[in-house]
């Protein structure tokens, strides 16, 4: 018996990540300091860049590979590209950070690449088995990565919490997938869709239960309320670079798989899931925005805002149209640059002040650090959806999709959520421009400042590093550029949307 035919070219973006992971792990074993501290991050960066390049090379490809286990099309390629970009930025943010040094450089970057490979596989998966395998490949390295600041208790707590909650999510998903298989007798997305299309399965309890459990499992990963409770704690505890990676790349992967699973495999059951998902989106928007008010840690604010943003994007999934997918794909791209800009500033200020990630750490930087103040401001305004930034165009597209899909009320929910979100985004902006820099010693700072106080000797004030500022400024410029000239990226998103030909 011979194995299935493998289209190596189509698989290449995924291979670049997986191979990069192994190479980085091996190079990390070398003795010289230079190899571990500079060569390893460089190789990791190159692997991500190579993957991005291969995505561009394969762009027009449209094929099912490895006996239908994976699907390579504009949607999966586009999201793989996003993951690769997020990976490159994360490498830059991690380069001179504490986490790789404490946990060993090789392992840290290898795990990052492995997780990214899992994400790439997840967005390509079009079979229940490959879906679950990819899901676990994504998750397990991330559990470890969250705990890589070994000498900081909150980091360990974050890893453990993510492991426990994530495992519950995975188990739920697996159960759900098994039930879907039981109901339809197929693991391939296309066959599931065919089986459902026959119409004999309307209201089948086995199918509905499977559907519900798998949505719950995926919702855990995308931090959709009410399955989001882990998000703030895990985001806050994890090393900031990893938080940035989780917030952007994981979200892209999770939404990508939700889109493919629902809009390809389960599209005949759309009347069953779309109202449920609409309610989930609404709850998520409300919970995320309300939760973010009153937080004092920027990472927690971003975590809650990430929950809310997941809700906005879910609105694009609800409508199950090419317009919706286009809007989600575009929003994921702009969400990536806006969020990374903010996280880069958090990294920089945490290094410079030793105040951790509390709002205090950015107070008054408008007067002293314009290269950090502007990116943070633009990022916050972008996330709030102010015109002139990419966030506005993203929200516009999402509202456009929901109104076109007869979910006009969901569009109103999105804008009301955005209105609430101003209360916390502008609090950060106000701290940047309208407050004095804190003069208090770091140990007196409240909230997560205490965290920094525990181990001051280690993370005392030091320069932020040019690469962190560079990431912040680059992402801020991209936020503005995508807000003024969204055309090119919008075209790519439109390609991604039209990749799923089963939709109107």
């Amino acid at each position: 018996m011979s194995g299935p035919h493998i289209d190596w070219a189509a698989l290449s973006p995924l291979i670049a990540l997986a191979a990069g992971s192994i190479v980085v792990l091996l190079v990390g074993l070398l003795r010289p300091r230079f190899a571990r501290e500079s060569l390893v991050p460089l190789l990791a960066f190159v692997a991500f860049a190579a993957s991005l390049g291969l995505v561009a090379w394969q762009w027009d490809d449209n094929a099912s590979i490895i006996a239908g286990a994976l699907r390579v099309d504009e949607l999966s390629l586009g999201l793989t590209g996003l993951v690769a970009i997020a990976g490159m930025l994360t490498v830059l943010l991690s380069w001179r950070g504490d986490a790789p040094r404490e946990s060993a450089h090789g392992e840290y970057y290898a795990m990052l690449l492995a997780s990214a490979a899992g994400m790439a596989a997840l967005v390509q998966a079009q079979n229940l088995v490959s879906l679950f395998l990819a899901f676990e490949l994504l998750s397990i390295p991330l559990y470890v990565l969250c705990a890589t600041e070994l000498r900081r208790a909150p980091s360990l707590e974050s890893g453990l919490k993510y492991l426990v909650v994530g495992s519950v999510g995975s188990a739920t998903l697996l159960y759900g997938l098994a039930l879907v298989y039981g109901a339809t007798g197929a693991t391939d997305f296309g066959e599931i869709s065919d089986a459902l299309g026959e119409g004999s399965m309307v209201g089948d309890p086995l199918l509905l239960t499977g559907l519900a459990l798998s949505i719950v499992g995926l919702a855990f990963k995308a931090s959709v309320a009410p399955f989001h409770q882990w998000t703030p704690d895990v985001y806050e505890g994890a090393p900031t670079a990893i938080t940035a990676f989780m917030a952007t790349a994981t979200k892209a992967a999770a939404l990508g798989v939700i889109i493919r699973f629902l809009d390809v495999a389960l599209i005949p059951a759309e009347p069953d899931w779309s109202p449920v998902l609409a309610v989930l989106a609404t709850v998520t928007i409300v919970v995320g925005n309300v939760g973010a008010i009153g937080q004092t840690s920027i990472k927690r604010i971003l975590a809650w805002s990430g929950v809310a943003q997941a809700g906005y994007m879910l609105a694009g999934v609800v409508v199950a149209s090419q317009l919706g997918i286009r809007a989600v794909a575009f929003y994921l791209a702009v969400y990536l640059v806006m969020n990374v800009a903010a996280f880069a500033v958090v990294v920089a200020r945490a290094r410079e002040t030793g105040l951790g990630d509390s709002i205090e750490s950015v107070s008054g930087i408008g007067a002293t650090k314009p290269l950090l103040a502007w990116p943070l401001t633009i990022s916050m305004l972008g996330l709030a959806g102010i015109p002139g930034t990419a966030g506005f165009i993203g929200k516009f597209a999402l509202i456009d999709a929901s109104v076109s899909g007869d979910f006009a009320w969901l569009g109103v929910v999105i804008v009301l959520g955005s209105a609430v979100s101003l209360a916390y985004y502008l609090r950060v902006v106000a701290a940047v421009w309208m407050r004095e820099a804190p003069r208090a010693v770091p140990a007196l700072a409240g909230g997560s400042g205490d965290v920094a106080a525990e181990d001051l000797p280690r993370s005392g004030p030091r320069p932020a590093g040019w690469e962190v500022t560079f990431v912040a400024v680059l992402c801020a410029l991209a936020t503005i550029a995508l807000g003024v000239v969204p055309g090119p990226v919008f075209d790519l998103a439109a390609d991604a949307g039209s990749a799923l030909t089963g939709l109107f």
Binding site: R326, G385, I399, G411, V412, L416, M434
Partner: protein
Amino acid sequence: MLSILIWLPLAVALLAALLPRALAPRFAALGTLGALGLAIYLIADYSAGSGMQHAVDEIWISELGMHYKLGIDGLNLFLVGLTTLAFAAAAVWASFREWDRPRLFYFHLLLGETAVLGAFLTQDLALFVVFFDLMLIPFYFLTGQWGGENRVPATMKMVIYTFVGSLLMLAGAVATGVLAAGDGQTLSFAFSDLQERTLGEGTQQWIFLLFAAAFLVKMPAFPLHGWMPDAYKAMPIEVVAVFSAVLSKVAAYGFLRIVLPIFPDASAHFQDLMLVIGLASILYGSVMAFTTTHARLIVGYSSVAQLGFITLGVFALDPQGAQGAVLQMVNHGLVTVPLFLIIGLLAVRSGGSEDIRDMGGIAFRAPVLASLFLIVALATLAMPGSGNFVGEFMILLGVFETKTVFACIGFTGVALAAVYMLRAFIRMMHNRVGPKVESREVSLRAGLVLVPLVAAILLFAVYPQLALERQEASVVTVVETAQEVAR
């Protein structure tokens, strides 16, 4: 041409950011004067009654149907003039003072000008929303960074209040575009397309409410004015002058440009509601302006009342009322800027207090300042012979023809305006000399800003036809449909 006008302030602002600190203020002020010159050229060049002029139409984002579409007609011609005049006055006035971080200050001020001009000139609903939302951001920073007491809470309150409205309008705008595009039609947000593609009446009604929320908050109209007192008190005086003179007009303009032509059925349906809001604003604003002792709030509440009048004029759904409303927008802007600037001067003379109880007797050694103030005050209370009188008269005439009862109540507003404005003038300029008051004549450079503004007021007083003739055709077009429905 119009693109140059819109982007000139922003370009100047960016250049000014690169200049040395000492030069930036003058350069920024020059830039606003340049924009004013362009606007004057546009007014001189305008030929009445020939539709959109200097039109620009480029595709911005084709997938979303967004166009970069600009045009000028009788409706926005003088509002553009007013905007450039107000910003030029504010920028020149501001350049007399030392600012902390001046380049940033002028950057925000000029970004504000770009956004306001964009909102007035755009002929595409999506682009309008972009500029409408954008124009708040610089004022958020201007208030929050350079404002007075309690500036941060005040600016937050202002932004959240107005953004709830703006975002609702965003949803309404998208819904309008999407729902109006029928089968096979491409998505478009151009005003001209939306006017042709009529929406169902039920759809019009819920979208109307979203737009009304945005505009009424921005005006501000009673009972959505909650953000106004704190924000006005906290803003630097130059900023509050342009904010009150110009930004509120964008909202009133939005009713005329967008709501009436695109949602005619809903406008007729909600006519009474809007008239009641207008009347309530007039009465509430007048009473508050009469009772408060804070000089800025007197002007602020009088703006509430004036915008109540403008709302009346717009929702009279009658060409005459609308004509009056447009004229009144310009007039009100013209008086608000000098009023606030004069309050700034008086505050300097009364030991820094803006409370009218601490002022008094300032006219004593300052006859020129007193005369300038008197002219402005008389224009504000719509003294016969002033342009404001013509505006209010036409508004009330328009309302009288359609809704007589509302007009009768509206007339009391005219009388109340006389009461609060004269009270303010007398308490500030005459009466017993305040404890810390030091009467002093207006300085030459301050005079150079005030005199042109007063001259503009006088120009519209003696020759309101200048505006009326040019705007007539455009105003009739926007009111037409709604007027037919209402009959």
